[in-house]
């Protein structure tokens, strides 16, 4: 049971990060390798906001969403837009952005060169204070459930619902789905596909920013913390099937639980190994992922 809860919390983080990546990849066919850096930026927003503004982790959730979304918007405008339809080039370009962002944090956004040091930036490890109510454990049905993990799960559920509403119930969502199914025709019908792209990129980045706030509570914050998340999230997207919300939910859930159960049964290294093997198996037998979105 405890193992299941841990799996659920691993899955929650995976889901939030992967959701953003899935939306961006689904609509724009752009693999955003700087997605992990959006997680990192979210975490740094939390560090800076708690150090300089005295904000708690709750108020950082929307703040980090905004900041990461703005970064996303800027990246889309400046780098990704000129490279549309060139998958490999965007791959390289976003990787470059990832490296640049990491180094920007290290050099205090350049102020470090002038001897100005901002508390909370730089190559040091940072940490975020977690409010006491999140540090407890709940005893439910004879199981210890860490409140923080439950909180992470709750945020993931809320974000999942919001995204579902956004994609399937709003005008923006239907345009988004239309663009991802048939870009040229949609554009010909009068939908501003560039605007949709930009918004999707910003929203995806914002989600990663929120994930950054959540992981900052149990992880060290450092400039290169984001990289592992891209790989994991990408695995979720690939295994779940591209452009399918339910696929992302289920594949994040399955992968999180697989890792957690194998990790408890033997150890985390085997957990990861089995996880990768599992994804390879999925791709062998279902090359388009667990859920295929049919394009007519």
């Amino acid at each position: 049971m405890e193992t299941f809860v841990i799996g659920l919390s691993i899955a929650s983080i995976l889901f939030i990060v992967a959701l953003g990546l899935a939306i961006v990849y689904g609509t724009m066919k752009v693999i955003n390798l700087a997605h992990g850096e959006m997680v990192m930026i979210g975490a740094y927003v939390t560090v800076l906001a708690s150090k300089h503004l005295g904000l708690g982790i709750y108020s950082c959730l929307p703040l980090a969403f905004l900041v990461a979304a703005l970064f996303g918007l800027a990246i889309e405008r400046l780098v990704v837009r000129p490279l549309y339809g060139r998958l490999l080039d965007t791959l390289l370009a976003t990787w470059g952005i990832a490296l640049i962002l990491q180094q920007l944090i290290r050099i205090h956004f350049g102020f470090g060169l002038f001897g100005i040091h901002i508390d909370g930036l730089g190559s040091d490890l940072q940490n975020v204070p977690v409010p006491p109510e999140l540090q407890q454990t709940l005893h439910i049905l004879g199981t210890n459930i860490p409140v923080y993990r439950a909180f992470v799960f709750g945020v993931a559920v809320v974000l999942g619902l919001v995204s579902w509403w956004l994609i399937y119930k709003t005008r923006f969502g239907s345009q988004l789905r239309a663009v991802s199914a048939a870009r040229d025709i949609t554009a010909a019908c009068g939908v501003n596909d560039k605007r949709i792209n930009a918004l999707a990129f910003a929203y995806g980045s914002g989600l990663a920013g929120v994930a950054g706030v959540l992981v900052s509570g149990f992880m060290t914050v450092s400039p290169d913390m984001g990289a592992p998340y891209v790989i994991d999230a990408f695995m979720v997207v690939v295994a779940g099937g591209v452009g399918h919300l339910l696929g992302t939910v289920l594949s994040a859930g399955i992968l999180g639980e697989v890792q957690s159960f194998v990790a408890t049964w033997s150890n985390d290294v085997y957990g990861r190994t089995v996880l990768f093997a599992f994804v390879i198996l999925i791709l062998l037998f279902k090359p388009q992922g667990l859920f295929v979105s049919r394009n007519r």
């Binding site: 490890l125 454990t137 993990r149 060290t220 913390m225």
Partner: protein, 414 residues
């Protein structure tokens, strides 16, 4: 015969040149610049271990400045040649080669991780250089090109702490957890040898990769193993994730004590002191060690590196290493690796942690084992310490004792 003659000739030439240049200040300065001894400083200023190594770099520079202020070594000033190996073992090896070949340094003060030491080792051994190594490590090494000054080996961190956990805290079931590489595995090996000796049960011995940050499964495994005490050899970023996870899952160090071998003031500060409060660490040095030398050391370092800086065990070892190398070179009258190694055996230094003596057999250091308990302010209360420095036994995992040495002057004999 040829060399001394030539040296003498150079000396005469030097004096003559000095005499000629004396009237102009510029000339005498140029001459003095030639009479410095270059020393290599090889700590990462960028990359994953930069947080710790940067402070070690500063500490080495501070020690060199102290030595220079007292007239240098053999009447010459030390000139630090700083290289940044960027936390990459391969770069360590390249930079070490550059320092020995191009800059012709007789000594390199450097390295923090075992991986980096193993990368530098062949370079200094082949080119008869010398590495002064600071960090506590897993032992099982017996090089004559490395001066293990201030660097603890497993017996100096475990012989005091594991029996202490049993006798003082009354704990009997040990769970050993670590990052997955040489140091934690070496520590676990020695821990098990010790546990078998004193009748303590090892209920778990588990590893996660370096830099791993998802510790939930491991922590719940520790919880269900029936362990009543944890020994942690977790390193780097993972320490923070590990301690935080223990708290998140509701563990309390008062009920389930944890003793660590690698959690210094730096890591405690990175995780937030409230997460480490109440846990134990076994190391020969803490910032709170109560010696006059340490008070001066802490004060000097805060003046050198800023009032917010903390001192920690690896740094203190760097400081000790630089000073002991200088003392040995002065005693030998020569800065060459062979001369220094020959002179340093049996030599003592009043380090911040107390008296540190170099063992003439294995070039390791007699250190004072201590156990610290983390406080709310991120410093440690020293709850146990030896009255005398303890002999370094790098091969204690295979049964080395003070009377029956494995590592000798002639090399390791297993």
């Amino acid at each position: 015969m040829k060399n001394p003659d030539r040296r003498q000739f150079m000396k005469v030439l030097g004096v003559a040149a000095g005499g000629l240049a004396a009237p102009t200040i510029l000339g005498s300065r140029a001459l003095r610049a030639e009479e410095t001894i270059p020393v290599g400083i090889l700590y990462s200023l960028t990359g994953t271990t930069a947080i710790v190594e940067k402070s070690m770099n500063q500490c080495a520079l501070m020690a060199i400045a102290e030595i220079n202020a007292k007239g240098g070594v053999l009447g010459k000033q030390l000139r630090p040649v700083i290289e940044d190996p960027a936390s990459e073992p391969r770069t360590y090896s390249e930079k070490a080669r550059k320092l020995t070949i191009e800059d012709k340094v007789p000594v390199i003060f450097g390295c923090y991780t075992t991986a980096s030491r193993k990368a530098v080792l062949p370079v200094v051994e082949r080119r008869s250089g010398l590495l002064v190594w600071p960090t506590w490590y897993e032992g099982e090494e017996c090089s004559k090109s490395v001066l293990y000054a201030g660097s603890a080996v497993p017996n100096q961190q475990l012989e005091n702490s594991i029996p202490w956990l049993k006798n003082k805290l009354g704990k009997n079931k040990l769970f050993i957890v670590g990052s997955d590489y040489a140091f934690p595995r070496g520590m676990a090996k020695t821990s098990k040898t010790l546990c078998a000796k004193i009748g303590m049960e090892v209920v778990g011995d588990e590893y996660l990769p370096l830099g791993h940050t998802e510790w939930a499964s491991m922590v719940s495994k520790i919880g269900s193993s029936g362990a009543d005490v944890i020994f942690s050899n977790v390193v780097g970023d993972s320490i923070v994730a590990f301690y935080r996870e223990l708290r998140n899952q509701g563990y309390d160090f008062e009920k389930l004590p944890l003793c660590a071998s690698t959690t210094t003031e730096v890591e405690v500060r990175a995780m937030g002191p409230e997460y480490a409060k109440g846990s134990y660490v076994s190391l020969p040095y803490f910032q709170t060690v109560d010696t006059p030398q340490n008070k001066a050391f802490v004060k000097a370092f805060k003046e050198f590196a800023g009032p917010d800086s903390v001192t920690h065990a690896a740094m203190e070892a760097v400081y000790t290493g630089v000073h002991m190398w200088a003392m040995a070179a002065a005693k030998a009258g020569d800065v060459s690796s062979k001369a220094v190694v020959g002179a340093v055996g049996g030599m003592s230094f009043d380090a911040p942690q107390g008296k540190v003596t170099i063992d003439s057999q294995n070039l390791h250091s007699f250190l004072t084992p201590r156990i610290g308990k983390a406080r709310a302010d991120g410093m440690f209360d020293i709850v146990d310490q030896y009255s005398e420095p303890l002999v370094p036994l790098p091969y204690s995992s295979v049964g080395e004792t003070a009377d029956k040495r494995v590592c000798k002057v002639s090399g390791a004999a297993l």
